[in-house]
Amino acid sequence: MANASPNRWDRYYTPATVAEAIELLQQYDGQARVVGGGTDLLVETRRGLHRPAQAMVDVTNIGGLDTITSDDGHIVMGCGVTHSQIVTNALIIERGSCLAESCSVIGGPQVRNVGTLAGNVAHALPAGDGTIGLLALGGEIEVAGEGGSHWMPLQESFKGPGKSFIDRHRQILTRLRFTPTAEREGSAHHRVMRPQGLCLPIISMGVRVKLDDDDTISAVRISMGPVGPVPYLAETAMDVLVGGPATPEQFRQAAEVALNSVSLRASKYRASHEYREQMVRTFLPMILNRAVERAQGTGL
C-alpha cells in the first residue's frame, strides 16, 4: 500500500553514515525527505502542509554527527546536535553565548530535546532563533550531496521564507561551525515574543563584538529577523560601529541605521511596525552593551 496514511511516509530510515544517507536520497530521487528532530517538519506534515514523502531520512543518528567538538579553530556541531545539547555546552555558553541564548528560547524542553540546530537552519525561517544566533557568530555550514560536500557561509543558504538553497530532498546539512569568541570578544542574543497564539518572534537579534585594547569596536556582526524574507545581517549598522567607541550613543545610532536599512512590516496578530521598531531601538543597544561587557570580561 503506497502512502496508506495521508500526511505520512512509508519508510523511516535512520542511516548511520553520511554516505548511507546520501545513497538513500539518491535512490528515492527526490521522493525522500531529510528529517532532523522533526519538530518543524512533522508538525507541518501532520497538518498536510507538505507533499507526502515516500521516505524520511533521519540524519540525527549518524555516527560522529551528534556531538559538539572543537576542531581547527572552530566549534563544530553535527546535524544531530539538539538545542538542549547546545544550551548546556560549557564551551558554547562561554564562547558562543549568543548561540546558547538563542537556542535556549526555542520551544519548551521537549522540543529542545529533539529539535536540532541544523533543522532550524535548514528550515530557513526569517527569524529561526538558533539561526539568528549562529548568523551573528559568522557561522558556516557543510552541505553534503551527490557530488560530495562543501562548506559555505550560513547566510548563503537562505533563499526565501522557509526556502533554502539546501535541497532537502537530496542534500544534507551535515555540520555547522563558528569561530569561538576570543579574548576581547563577546556575543549576545535577545528575542521579543508575545504571550498569545502564534509562536513566532516579534523580533530576534544577535550580536558579536570585538574590541581593541582601547575599547573601540574593531569588528561587529549584527543579525536580525524577521525583517525581510531571510535572516538579515545588518551591515550598515555594523559599518557605523566599526572603528568607533563602544558607547550607548553609538549603539543608539546603530539601531537607527539598522532601522533605516530595513523595512519592518506590520504582521497581523504579531506586531505593528512601530512596535517592532521600538523593540529594535530598545534591545539592539542592550545586547550590544551586553556583548561588550562580555568582551571586557565584566559581563555574565
Binding site: 496508506a4 496514511s5 495521508p6 505520512r8 511516509w9 512509508d10 519508510r11 523511516y12 535512520t14 522533526g38 519538530t39 512533522l42 508538525v43 501532520r46 497538518r47 524520511m56 533521519d58 540525527t60 538542549s84 520551544g107 519548551g108 524542553p109 521537549q110 522540543v111 530535546n113 529533539v114 521579543v192 508575545r194 504571550p195 498569545q196 497564539g197 502564534l198 509562536c199 497581523k268 496578530y269 506586531a271 505593528s272 512601530e274 512596535y275 521600538q278 523593540m279 530598545t282 534591545f283
Partner: protein
C-alpha cells in the same frame, strides 16, 4: 511493517508495525499503554510526554522508528509493586490532579527533572522544565508544590485555614479517582477499544454560510473499508438538537450556518480510511453572505442565520429593570460611562471530545472478544440497548437528545459517563453522541468518534464575545445610585445555552452591589460564528470585567479608596440584588473584601511602585455568582446510596448519581457527605457517577450547582439509608434514593428570589508591567471566597487556584479569532492558555457564611474564582500606567503605544482589528 525494538518500561519489546507510526500511536494503539494521553498532535500541549533514553519528548510527533533500540519510559512504569513513586504520592497529597488528562505527561516531565536535579531543584527549574507541558485545571501551583515535595523538600499541602465542620466534612481528601489517574490507569473515552469497533469522522461544512445544493457520498461509500456514510436523510428521528432550543441540525439539510457544521458522517474500519472517505464526499453549496459580528447582525439588511423567525437574528432580548434609572442618575455626583469588549474564548480542555456508541444487542464474543457476564459496562459487557460512552457534563440530556434523533424513547438509550479530561462548560452540548449512535445502529458495531484538536477548536461552542456599555452613577461618598447597561452577546450559529448564559451576564451586570436603580438590556444575537455556550463563569466573567473596571474609575473620580467604594455598596444581609432579591443569609462579601485588603496592605504598603524598567501595582475586584440554575427552573438532583456491612463488619457504602465529574472534585464531595452522615471513613464510600441505567439523574453539571444539589441528594439519601440499615439484619444491604429539589426560585422579571444562593469573592492582583515592552505579568493574587462551608479543602484550593489562572489567560493570552466566520484559531499553536510561566503566587482565604439549604451550609464555587481576576489585573494596569484597558486580552503592543504616547486607554485587544463600536443605552433609544 517492520520490526521495532524498544526497552519499554524496563522490558524488551519487539513489535511489527508500519514505519509511518508515531511513538504515541505504537504505545497507545499497538501496545495498549493508554496512560500516555493525546491532547493536540501538534507538539504544543506536552501531555503526550514520555522519556526516551531518560529525556522528555513529545511522543505525538516522535516517529516510532526514531526510537529504534531506545529505552522508553511511560507513566505505567512509575509505581513498582503497588508502591507509588514519590511524584505520584505528592500529586495525590497536594491535589495536583484534577481531570487528570495532563497528569501522565506532567509527571513524566517532572520525573526527568527530578532524576536530573534531585533534592536541590528550584521553582525556576520546575518552571523551565514544565514550560510547555500544559494543565488547564490546576493553575500549576499545586503541581509545583507536589514536585518539590517529591524532591524531598519540606512542603506541606497548601490548604485554606478553616475549622473542619465534621469528621469528613472540611477534611482534605484526594478525589477517589485520582489514584487511577496518577498511575496512568484511568480510562477516558479514547482509551476504550471495543471488539469490532469502527472509527468515525465528520464531514464539516468549511464554509460559514451556504445553502446546500447537493451531497454526493457515492465515492466515499465505495471506498474499501467504509461501512457507512450518513447524511440528514438517514436520521430516523428529529434532525435537530439543542439544550434550550432545538435549532442545531444533527446533519445539515437545507443550509450550513457555521464552518463547523456537520454535513455527513462516516464509519470505517480504520481512522485513516474514514479520513480518506471524507475527502471523497462532494457537497455543492450556494454560498450566502456571512454575518460575523453581533451588532452588524441586528441591522435590518443583515443576512439571516435562521430564516422565518419574527426577530431576525435576535435570539433573545433579556432585561433587568429596577427602580427609576433617570432619577438614579439625577441623584449621582459622579457618573462613569464606558464601553468594553470581551473576546470569544476556547475552553481548551486537554481531552478533545470523544464518543463511542455501542449498538443494542452487542456481544463482544461476536467480534472475537471475551464476555464477562458480570460486567455492567465496558468492553467485556453485553449491551442490550444503544449505549453511548462519553465524557459528558449532562448524561441525561445526552440521552434525551440522542433518543430524539434516533426516534426512540429516552430509556431505549443508555449513556455511560466516562472520565472527562476537562469540561469547563465546553462539554454540555452534543458533539459526537448522536453521530456515533446513528452509525452504531446502522452498522451494528461499536463506533468511536474522536475529534482532533483542530476539529474541537472548530466545532464546540465558545465563550460569548460581548460588547458591553455600562454607565455607573454614585454619590460623593461612593454610594451607587444607578447602573445602566447594554450588552451585545455573539451567540454564534445555534442557540446552545446563550439565553441562559447571557441572562446571567445581565442579572450580574450591576455587580455584587446594592443598587437602587438598574436598567440592563442584553441582546443575544445569531451570527455565522461558532456557537457560543457555557464556559466557567457563565456570562458573569464578561460583565464583571466591565462592572469592576467602572467601579475603579468611579472611585478615582470621587477620590475614594478602591476597597472602600466596594464596601459601601457590597451586598449583605438585608440588601437587594439588581433583580430585587433581598438577601436573608450567607453574604460574606464584606469579610472577603476585608481579608484581601488586609492581605494586600502589609506594612509599607504602596498601590504602585517602580523597580528598574518595571512598574508594579495592585488592583482589586470583587464578584458574585449564583449557585444553581435559578430563574424558576426546577433544580433537581437524585442520588442513590447503598449501604452494607463488609466481612469485617465495617460499614461500606456506594453513592450513585448521574452528575458529572470533570476534575472539579465532585466524587470527593459526595463521598464526604455520605461518610459524614453514616459516620464512616471516606475511604469506605465508593462513588459511581453517570450511568443513566444505574444512577439517578443529577441534572447538568453547570452553574456551580453540583455540590449544592447532588451534595444534598447524597446526604439525604445516606440519611435515609442509615435509618434503614438500623432496622436491617446484618447480612442485608440497604438502598435508599433521594430526589432533592432545590428551593423554588422565580423567573427573571417576576420579583422575589431568582436564586437560592450566591457565592462571593474579592481578589487583589499584583501586576508587573515591563515599561520597555508593554508585557504584563501577574506576580501575586490574594483571594478570599465565601463558599458557605468547606466540604473538601484540598479540592477547594484546586478550584480556586485553577480558576484564577484560567482568568489570567482570559485577561492576557486567550482569544479565539474568527475572520468572516472562519476560525483563524484553527490549531492549538494559535491559542495560548496560561502555562506554568504565567502562574502567580496565590494566597487564598476562605470565608464561611453557611447557607441554610446547602449541604452543611456549602454553596457553589466552581466558577467564582475565574470571574474577577481580569478586572483586578486591568485595574492594576491602570494604576501602574494610567492606561485603561477596554478590550481583552491585553495587547502589549497597544499598551506600550499608549504608555509612550500618553494615551489614557486602549480599545484594541490582541486579535482585534476594529475599534469598539458605539452602542446606545436603553434610555437613549
Amino acid at each position: 511493517m517492520s520490526m521495532l525494538h524498544l526497552i519499554l518500561n524496563g522490558r524488551p519489546v519487539d513489535i511489527d508495525v508500519p514505519e509511518s507510526r508515531y511513538l504515541s500511536e505504537v504505545l497507545r494503539n499497538d501496545l495498549g499503554l493508554t496512560g500516555t494521553k493525546i491532547g493536540c498532535n501538534e507538539a504544543e500541549c506536552g501531555i503526550c510526554t514520555v522519556l526516551v533514553n531518560g529525556t522528555p519528548i513529545e511522543s505525538c510527533v516522535f516517529p516510532a522508528f526514531k526510537a529504534q533500540g531506545a529505552t522508553v519510559e511511560t507513566i505505567e512504569s512509575l509505581s513498582q509493586d503497588g508502591e507509588l513513586h514519590p511524584l505520584q504520592q505528592a500529586f495525590l497529597d497536594h491535589g495536583a490532579v484534577q481531570c487528570g488528562i495532563c497528569t501522565p505527561g506532567v509527571i513524566m516531565t517532572a520525573k526527568a527533572l527530578l532524576d536530573e536535579k534531585g533534592a536541590s531543584l528550584t521553582d525556576d527549574e520546575i518552571s523551565v522544565a514544565l514550560k510547555d507541558t500544559y494543565c488547564r485545571c490546576t493553575g500549576y501551583q499545586s503541581v509545583i508544590r507536589a514536585i518539590r515535595q517529591a524532591a524531598g523538600q519540606n512542603v506541606a499541602p497548601l490548604l485554606p485555614n478553616i475549622q473542619p465542620a465534621g469528621d469528613s466534612i472540611g477534611r482534605p481528601h484526594p478525589n477517589p479517582q485520582s489514584r487511577a489517574k496518577i498511575m496512568g490507569r484511568a480510562r477516558y473515552t479514547d482509551d476504550y477499544r471495543f471488539p469490532g469497533m469502527l472509527y468515525a469522522r465528520t464531514k464539516r461544512a468549511g464554509v460559514p454560510h451556504a445553502r446546500i445544493r447537493s451531497i454526493n457520498t457515492a465515492a466515499a461509500r465505495n471506498l474499501p473499508g467504509v461501512r457507512a456514510v450518513l447524511t440528514h436523510e438517514d436520521v430516523p428521528g428529529h434532525n435537530r438538537h439543542g439544550l434550550v432550543i432545538d435549532d442545531w441540525p444533527v446533519l445539515c439539510d437545507d443550509k450550513v450556518r457555521y464552518a463547523g457544521d456537520a454535513v455527513a458522517i462516516v464509519a470505517a474500519d480504520s481512522d485513516e480510511v474514514a479520513a480518506a472517505a471524507l475527502e471523497r464526499i462532494r457537497v455543492e453549496y450556494d454560498e450566502l453572505p456571512v454575518v460575523s459580528d453581533a451588532i452588524a447582525a441586528t441591522k435590518p439588511d443583515a443576512p439571516l442565520v435562521h430564516e422565518g423567525r419574527d426577530n431576525g437574528n435576535l435570539l433573545r432580548h433579556i432585561k433587568v429593570d429596577k427602580g427609576d434609572i433617570e432619577a438614579g442618575f439625577a441623584a449621582a455626583d459622579a457618573i462613569v460611562d464606558q464601553t468594553y469588549r470581551t473576546p470569544a474564548t476556547e475552553h481548551l480542555f486537554l481531552e478533545p471530545e470523544c464518543s463511542i456508541a455501542v449498538p443494542g444487542g452487542y456481544n463482544p464474543e461476536d467480534f472475537g472478544g471475551t464476555l464477562d457476564r458480570n460486567a455492567a459496562r465496558g468492553e467485556t459487557a453485553t449491551h442490550d440497548k444503544t449505549t453511548i460512552y462519553v465524557g459528558s457534563q449532562i448524561p441525561y440530556q445526552d440521552r434525551g437528545q440522542t433518543a430524539a434523533a434516533l426516534g426512540v424513547e429516552p430509556d431505549a438509550v443508555r449513556v455511560v459517563a466516562t472520565l472527562t479530561g476537562g469540561g469547563f462548560g465546553g462539554k454540555e452540548d452534543i458533539t459526537g453522541q448522536i453521530h456515533t449512535a446513528l452509525l452504531a445502529e446502522k452498522t451494528q458495531r461499536p463506533v468511536k468518534m474522536l475529534y482532533s484538536r483542530q476539529e474541537s477548536l472548530l466545532v464546540h461552542p465558545k465563550r460569548h464575545a460581548t460588547v458591553i456599555r455600562i454607565r455607573t452613577g454614585a454619590k460623593s461618598d461612593g454610594t451607587l445610585t444607578a447602573v445602566e447597561a447594554t450588552l451585545y452577546g455573539d451567540a454564534g450559529a445555534y442557540a446552545s445555552l446563550s439565553e441562559k448564559v447571557l441572562t446571567r451576564a445581565t442579572t450580574h451586570a450591576a455587580g455584587p452591589y446594592d443598587v437602587p436603580n438598574v436598567k440592563v438590556d442584553c441582546f443575544a444575537i445569531y451570527t455565522n460564528n461558532a456557537p457560543s455556550g457555557a464556559f466557567r463563569g457563565f456570562g458573569v466573567t464578561q460583565s464583571c470585567f466591565a462592572v469592576e473596571s467602572n467601579m475603579d474609575m468611579l472611585a478615582e473620580k470621587l477620590g475614594l479608596d478602591a476597597a472602600e467604594i466596594r464596601r459601601v455598596n457590597a451586598l449583605d444581609i438585608g440588601r437587594a440584588t439588581s433583580t430585587g432579591q433581598v438577601l436573608r443569609e450567607s453574604a460574606g462579601l464584606n469579610e472577603c473584601i476585608d481579608m484581601v485588603d488586609v492581605g494586600m496592605r502589609g506594612k509599607d504598603f504602596h498601590w504602585t511602585w517602580e523597580e528598574g524598567n518595571s512598574r508594579f501595582a495592585w488592583g482589586l475586584a470583587v464578584a458574585y455568582k449564583n449557585t444553581g440554575l435559578g430563574g424558576g427552573a426546577p433544580d433537581r438532583a437524585g442520588a442513590e446510596v447503598e449501604v452494607w456491612r463488609d466481612g469485617n463488619d465495617s460499614i461500606r457504602a456506594e453513592v450513585r448519581t448521574s452528575s458529572a465529574e470533570m476534575g472539579q472534585g465532585l466524587p470527593a464531595v459526595l463521598a464526604a457527605c455520605v461518610a459524614e452522615e453514616l459516620g464512616i471513613p471516606m475511604d469506605n464510600v465508593d462513588v459511581l457517577l453517570g450511568d443513566t441505567d444505574y444512577c439517578p439523574d443529577g441534572g447538568p453539571t453547570t452553574a456551580s450547582r453540583q455540590t449544592f444539589v447532588s451534595g444534598n441528594a447524597a446526604r439525604l439519601a445516606a440519611r435515609k439509608a442509615a435509618k434503614k440499615l438500623a432496622n436491617a439484619s446484618s447480612a442485608q444491604s440497604v438502598r435508599a434514593r433521594y430526589d432533592y429539589d432545590a428551593p423554588q426560585t422565580r423567573a427573571l422579571g417576576t420579583g422575589g428570589d431568582m436564586h437560592f444562593a450566591f457565592s462571593f469573592c474579592a481578589q487583589a492582583a499584583l501586576v508587573e508591567i515591563d515599561m520597555d515592552t508593554g508585557e504584563v505579568h501577574v506576580r501575586k493574587v490574594i483571594a478570599a471566597h465565601d463558599v458557605g462551608r468547606t466540604i473538601n479543602p484540598l479540592t477547594l484550593q484546586g478550584q480556586i487556584e485553577g480558576g484564577i489562572v484560567m482568568c489570567i489567560g482570559y485577561t492576557l493570552t486567550e482569544h479565539y479569532i474568527q475572520e468572516q466566520g472562519k476560525p483563524w484559531t484553527d490549531v492549538m499553536a494559535r491559542y495560548k492558555m496560561p502555562s506554568i510561566t504565567h502562574t502567580p503566587a496565590i494566597t487564598s482565604h476562605i470565608v464561611e457564611h453557611p447557607t441554610s439549604g446547602g449541604p452543611y451550609g456549602a454553596k457553589g464555587v466552581g466558577e467564582l474564582p475565574s470571574i474577577p481576576t481580569s478586572a483586578a489585573i486591568c485595574n492594576a494596569i491602570y494604576r501602574a500606567t494610567g492606561v485603561r484597558v477596554r478590550s481583552l486580552p491585553v495587547d502589549q503592543d497597544e499598551l506600550l503605544r499608549a504608555i509612550r504616547t500618553g494615551a489614557d486607554e486602549i480599545e484594541l485587544a490582541w486579535g482585534d482589528l476594529e475599534p469598539i463600536p458605539t452602542i446606545a443605552l436603553g434610555c437613549e433609544r
